[in-house]
């Protein structure tokens, strides 16, 4: 392989320089309006088939003779004809013709234009990003794209998010989209020891996101594309630009503005006093709001220093980022120091372009012990944080009692540093003898190394307990080598453009984890390292035709092999086809009401293999640890366990149909897209119960069942006002979607269900279910019975089967956590140098299970602790008067529709000769309109339990460019 590649490179680099004989002309094509380079311009020697297109940076090279007429044409711009008279340099400026500048859109192993795209592909660029002190890149996208739902996991600094494109295509396997950074697909499992693996990409460094939603667009990424693909392109400098310095600061302050509603000291005391064995000496005399004690005003700052410059053949961009963000939970801290470099070198008259992007990231976390959140909710409000002597108040000797959460935050310490490097090298070469043929090679590595230390103080509630130390380390390595050939040409004979791509990709993931931890009071034990390796190999091809600038046809094919399946099932094929019809280019619509109109349809098949386990098809044996050994005679024998496996494990396959209309009115001042999709996943990789006795566990990840999802996505973008001084842009997107399980087992019992959604309160309780015909986030509850006054009758539920007993059989599937409809609205106003923007996001039809209320909203919580103390209860006990936990009552299931004002921002730009200065003020998580009683209506799994609150944040932004 290596020799082969070497000789290939030699061939590519050196032969052309020897053979080069014809006179060539090169130059840059720029836009007259803003002097920005224009990529994708068609350049043709008139009357011949010699032609080329300008690259990403507007550069081109073409062979011509003196006297030839060179034609520069570009959709949306006036075509220019220039007679060539021997000069080696020919820079051209094009003037905008129509209103719409047609953008280049990446589509995976290549690019297209927005006009020619046939799949559901959406590009979100810098100007549309969410504002604020954003640490994690995916937050830039929240609410910006129809069909894309970004839900932050919690309010932790630098925390991750759940990203769903068109819901999720799987059940137990991965439901997150594939994320590709500058051509390198990230490991979908993330990397160890960080809060969010995407934090390795500095939000400030992102040029744009391209979201590939439907299968015809994603099938080229076959094996990992069922849940959509997000392509992230980072900023690179551009050619022939003067040196530019930029300093950007975002300073922020955040605080929690709502707490879980627990009893205050008076309410609490009143309930404790009803205890039959009431012991007054166990209560204190304070009125402590324990939640207030654990949260702080968190300060954060994000600094970005960027330098960029472009020469004729070389350009670079260097960015240094320092981010420091405290969490609102006292002691929580996220820090990032990152150096992001990009270099672009053009050689051989622009025929060869080498791009190197590399990011070095030091990701430092101090993890506050989140257990403090639950302890603060549960702690007796009559107790003070400190005793009179200044020591912490604790329930000494009560092993199951909560630990003083202020003590926990103060004493428990968990720090981790992740050193990461993401480097991607790209080579793009146009063959000297055939400029339309290019070779593209991409070599990437994502290496991250973790080092963490954890210290937990001895449990103050148990005098025999000892401190816990944990040293953990490891690394993740993700290596990629892919290459493809691309051939693009105008076939004048048939008035068509053709675009062919074919390539190969190999990617390997290697993970190693090590741990040394406290085993007894005096000993540390070194755990056996865990190693996991898996690999993917793929062949891919795509062919696109654009006939008469009216009819677009694109077909792609990918063949993938995964090391996670046995040789028999290892390989699978993932085809995709899409069609587009540019209606406004037809004579009958030429001068119509529409300024643009395109109909698109696509179908594609994608796969899934991200199931966590690497050897699921192979029976392996796992040794047991010393603390799980068995006494035989006088010695303890370590055990050996054969693991469950399914030797027939194979690819999960998703078929998706997409039908869409892109339209524009009023010279494209108002544009929009409606997409409708229908997606079916078969041979679902799900972790389901095994037939008892047939395998070596009760649950097994295997191919079973199918899920269906369908939806309609609408997005509208309007330039409501457009003038020199005043611009007003409004973007709206609305998504309607429905997911359901269509088959779940090998059997045919329609009532077969699998419990999901573990909750607090007792052990092993679940509040959701999977069953055929239902959304996978459906709740499974008893229907509460109320008295005439409308108060719930404790323990009285609807007796569904009429057997006069309330049993498991009376539970009903009722409501779900996923929304029916969600929407985003982005508004941007600029007046002269003043800009104002805000983003609203809404979700409708989703329900939330208030687990804090169901677990703690009862008298038993206070009066029946397993020891000598009284824990606090949720305020709902005052209205329900429930004695015991009624975990499965639908009383705790509440409508959680919401509209959130995610961010609102005002900025002022001071332009200068040498220096440009911009200042802005942004507030994020400003306002939530909801009927939901709990802390936050937006929790991705629909179970609200000791949620780390999302803070409200105020951000001051300063930006200097010179």
């Amino acid at each position: 392989m290596k020799t082969f590649l070497n000789s290939l490179l030699v061939l590519l680099f050196f032969i052309p320089s020897i053979l080069l004989a014809q006179s060539t002309v090169s130059g840059t094509v720029t836009d007259k309006a803003n002097a920005l380079p224009l990529p994708g311009v068609n350049i043709l020697v008139k009357g011949t088939s010699v032609g080329t297109t300008s690259d990403f940076d507007g550069n081109y090279t073409i062979s011509a003779k003196s006297g030839d007429v060179i034609v520069f044409s570009y959709v949306g711009f006036k075509t220019q004809e220039i007679t060539y008279n021997g000069q080696s340099k020919l820079n051209v400026t094009l003037t905008e013709d129509a209103a719409q500048l047609d953008e280049i859109v990446l589509i995976g192993y290549g690019s297209t234009t927005k006009q020619d795209a046939t799949g559901a592909v959406e590009k979100i660029s810098t100007e549309e990003f969410n504002k604020g002190a954003i640490v994690s890149p995916e937050q830039l996208l929240a609410g910006k794209s129809a069909g894309v739902r970004v839900t932050s996991n919690n309010g932790a600094p630098g925390g991750g998010s759940e990203i769903r494109i068109r819901g999720g295509a799987s059940l137990s396997a991965n439901n997150s989209p594939l994320i590709v950074v500058d051509g390198l697909p990230l490991d979908q499992r993330g990397v160890q020891g960080v809060r969010n693996q995407l934090n390795a990409i500095n939000p400030n460094d992102i040029e744009d996101f391209v979201v590939l939603k439907d299968a015809s667009a994603t099938a080229i990424y076959g094996s990992r594309a069922s849940n959509g693909v997000i392509l992230i392109t980072t900023k690179k400098g551009s050619a022939n630009t003067p040196i530019k310095f930029e300093y950007d600061l975002k300073a922020s302050s955040s605080q929690v503005n709502d707490y879980v509603d627990v009893l205050d000291a008076t309410q609490f005391r009143a309930i404790a006093e009803t205890d039959t064995n009431y012991n007054a000496s166990l209560l204190g005399n304070s009125n402590t709001n324990w939640q207030k004690e654990i949260y702080q005003t968190a300060i954060g700052a994000i600094h970005n220093l960027t330098v960029s410059k472009g020469y004729e053949n070389f350009n670079y961009r260097i960015n240094y980022n320092h981010t420091s963000q405290q969490g609102v939970l006292t002691g929580d801290l996220y820090e990032r120091n990152a150096l992001n470099l990009s270099f672009v070198q053009r050689l051989l008259n622009n025929d060869l372009k080498l791009t190197l992007t590399t990011k070095g990231i030091l990701d430092d976390n101090k993890y506050a012990d989140n257990g403090a959140i639950g302890a603060a909710v549960a702690f007796d409000p009559t107790q003070s944080v400190y005793n009179a002597d200044g020591t912490y108040f604790q329930y000494t000797g009560e092993n199951l009692a909560p630990i003083n959460p202020v003590f926990t935050l103060e004493n428990n310490n968990n720090r981790a540093r992740n050193k990461r490097n993401i480097t991607n090298f790209n080579l793009d070469y146009k063959f000297w003898f055939l400029k339309e043929l290019t070779f593209n090679l991409n070599a990437g590595i994502d290496y991250s190394e973790l080092n963490g230390k954890q210290f937990n103080a001895a449990r103050p509630t148990n005098s025999a307990s000892f401190p816990y130390k944990n040293f953990y380390s490891g690394f993740n390595r993700n290596t990629l080598l892919d290459f493809y050939f691309n051939y693009k040409n105008n076939l004048e004979l048939i008035n068509a453009k053709i675009d062919l791509t074919a390539g190969h990709s190999y990617q390997e993931f290697f993970i190693k984890s090590k741990q040394t931890e406290t085993e007894t009071a005096t000993t540390l034990v070194v755990r056996t390292p865990v190693i996991n390796r898996n690999a993917l190999e793929s062949y891919f091809a795509r062919v696109s035709f654009d006939i008469a600038d009216k009819y677009l046809i694109s077909a792609s094919y990918r063949r993938d092999g995964s090391s996670r399946f046995g040789p028999k099932n290892r390989w699978s094929s993932f085809p995709g086809v899409s069609l587009g019809w540019k209606l406004t280019n037809e004579d009958f619509l030429k001068d119509s009401f529409f300024s643009s109109l395109k109909l698109r349809a696509g179908w594609g098949k994608t796969g899934q293999q991200e199931i966590g386990a690497n050897y699921g098809y192979l029976g392996v044996y796992t040794p047991g640890r010393n603390d799980a050994s068995v006494q035989i005679g006088d010695i303890f024998v370590n055990t050996l366990r054969p693991e469950e496996f399914d030797e027939n494990l194979k690819w999960e396959e998703t078929s998706q149909y997409n039908l869409a209309l892109d339209f524009g009115f009023f010279n494209d001042r108002l544009t929009g897209t409606v997409d409708a999709y229908y997606r079916e996943t078969e041979d679902l990789l799900a972790t389901v119960p095994t037939p008892a006795g047939s395998n070596l566990s009760d649950l097994l990840t295997t191919n079973v069942g199918s899920v269906l999802s369908k939806g309609i996505e609408l997005s509208l973008n309007g330039e409501l006002a457009k003038s020199e001084n005043f611009n007003w842009d409004l973007g709206v997107n609305v998504t309607l979607q429905e997911n359901k399980i269509t088959k779940l087992s090998l059997g045919n019992d329609p009532n077969f269900l699998i419990a999901q959604g573990g909750i607090s309160g007792g052990v092993g309780n679940n509040i959701q279910l999977w069953r055929e015909g239902l959304d996978p986030s459906t709740f499974y509850v008893f229907r509460q019975v109320y008295d005439n006054a409308g108060n719930p009758i404790e323990g009285a539920y609807v007796d569904v089967n009429g057997d006069n007993q309330i049993t498991e059989a009376d539970k009903q599937a009722y409501k779900k956590a996923s929304p029916d409809v969600f929407a985003g609205l982005t508004n941007t106003l600029t007046y002269k140098n003043l800009d104002f923007s805000f983003t609203f996001r809404g979700s409708f039809g989703n329900y939330m299970y208030n687990n804090v209320a169901s677990d703690r909203g009862n008298i038993t919580t206070v009066n029946n602790a397993p020891g000598n103390y009284y824990p606090n209860a949720h305020v709902s006990v005052l209205s329900t008067n429930f004695n015991n936990q009624n975990l499965f009552s639908d009383l705790y299931l509440q409508r959680a529709d919401f509209v959130k004002l995610d961010n609102i921002s005002i900025g002022y730009l001071v332009p200068g000769e040498k220096i440009t200065f911009r200042a802005s003020l942004t507030a994020t998580n400003v306002l939530t309109i909801t009927k939901y009683d709990g802390l936050d209506p937006e929790i991705s799994n629909g179970i609200d339990n000791n949620f780390y609150p999302r803070p409200q944040m105020y951000v001051l932004g300063l930006n200097f460019t010179f």
């Binding site: 040794p623 047991g624 050994s629 006494q631």
Partner: protein
Amino acid sequence: MKINNIKHKAMLRIIKTVFFAFIMIGFIQSCESNLDLQPEDNRLTADAVFEDPAAYKAFLAKIYAGISLSGQQGPAGDADLSGLDEGFSNYLRLYWKMQELTTDEAIIGWNDGTIKDLHAQTWTSGNEFIRTMYSRLFYQVALTNEFLRQTTDAKLDARGVDAALRAEIQDYRAEARFMRALTYWHAMDLFANVPFVTENDPIGAFLPPQIQRADLFDYVESELLAIENEIVPARQNEYGRADQGAVWMLLSKLYLNAEVYTTTPRYSDVITYTNKVIGAGYSISTNPYYHLFLADNNTNGTQTEVIFPIAFDGLNTQSFGGMTFLVHAPVGGSMTPSNYGINGGWAGVRTTATFVEQFPGEENSADGRALFYTDGQTKAIANVSPFTNGFAIEKFRNVDVNGVQGSDSTGDFADTDFPMFRLADAYLMYAEAYIRGGGGSAANAVTYINQLRIRAYGNSTGNITQSDLTLNFILSERSRELFWEAHRRTDLIRFGQFSSQGIWPWKGNVAQGVTTESFRDVMPIPATDLGINTNLQQNEGY
């Protein structure tokens, strides 16, 4: 024409080039074949793992651990089963709940899923504790089947196993078959008609057939008879491993309940096999009764009575099931955790008045087996949840005979071993089989029972005479001697007192207790397995 020709040639060249470039992609296939990956850490494939001769014993240890532990990591973290909380999924903990919480001997106050339905006898086929018991039983069967598949002569030949190890492996195989018989007995007793798999079945996606209870009885009996003389003789094996005594004991239990399982009584076989047990040299020690259930019960003298223990250790055999549960869960209210060698009670399990009343004089009985804790506890249970409703029981403790805490200084995990089979049970089975007409002698029966009562009373004041030998006495005496040792449900069913007869507090989910329907003598096949395995038919009544 010429121009056309040139164009044509140029076109051809382009096509050739493009074709060549794209064809090259296809050549790569021969270069990459890196998709055959094997584990690289301490996990091993079957072929690799058995290169180590010690692997056979380690695998056998896993079969014993199947009852005491919940996974490969103590106390939790790498579970065998993942359908329920790991601590809950432990074999012994679940089996104990099935056998005790459903009866008058125990009641639990927790809110864990459907756990309260066990005592209320209102369980359905969706009950997760019943489901996980069932999963655990068939996990254990699958584990032993895999052991037997990996130790066939053919496999051992292929691996070139030497004669000494081979002989040892034959002992292991007998023990594995015993363990499978034990589990199938539990399955037959609890679920009657269950899926049936042996070492002749594969691992993977197939639907095991259902076996009828009587057929399973025949299978378990034939397995035990087949290994009776292959397994290590009674009291000759290493501590913690099963021997001939355990086989005889299990055969006795099988025959004692044969009428329930097959409608054919086999009481004379009970006499035969209990006689073998009794004659094997086990003895009732002079220690007080409660010493049987202490942290040092493998060494304090009482071990002479134990036929088959489930061994635990506070440092080396850690789980949240088994003995950890049995020691922690019954401690609450005003009980002092350190008296039980633990750092805190879990305030869950108590007993009902019905059980208290089995002892003359109740909590103040002269019978040393009345191990009640009554301070701050009420005898009656007004409300199931609070720990203080119902007397507490202090039977299993993590302290030694001197009151010293077991090896785990944090007080989390217990050293106490669980006596799965002990001589007292053999004595009581002998007496019962005698009464039921299986032969034997009344004098022996009385002598055996009085041995137990002398230990219980500390003297002969509690002794019985031949006229006391009635079935009702036996049922009560079994409860007094063997309470909380996971026998009660089976005993009540054999005496017809479990469902449609027999009342105790909170049976039927009412405070005073009501009878329930007789179909509850058998547990339901879990709905999940019925949903998957179309070969299965639900037990009657569910």
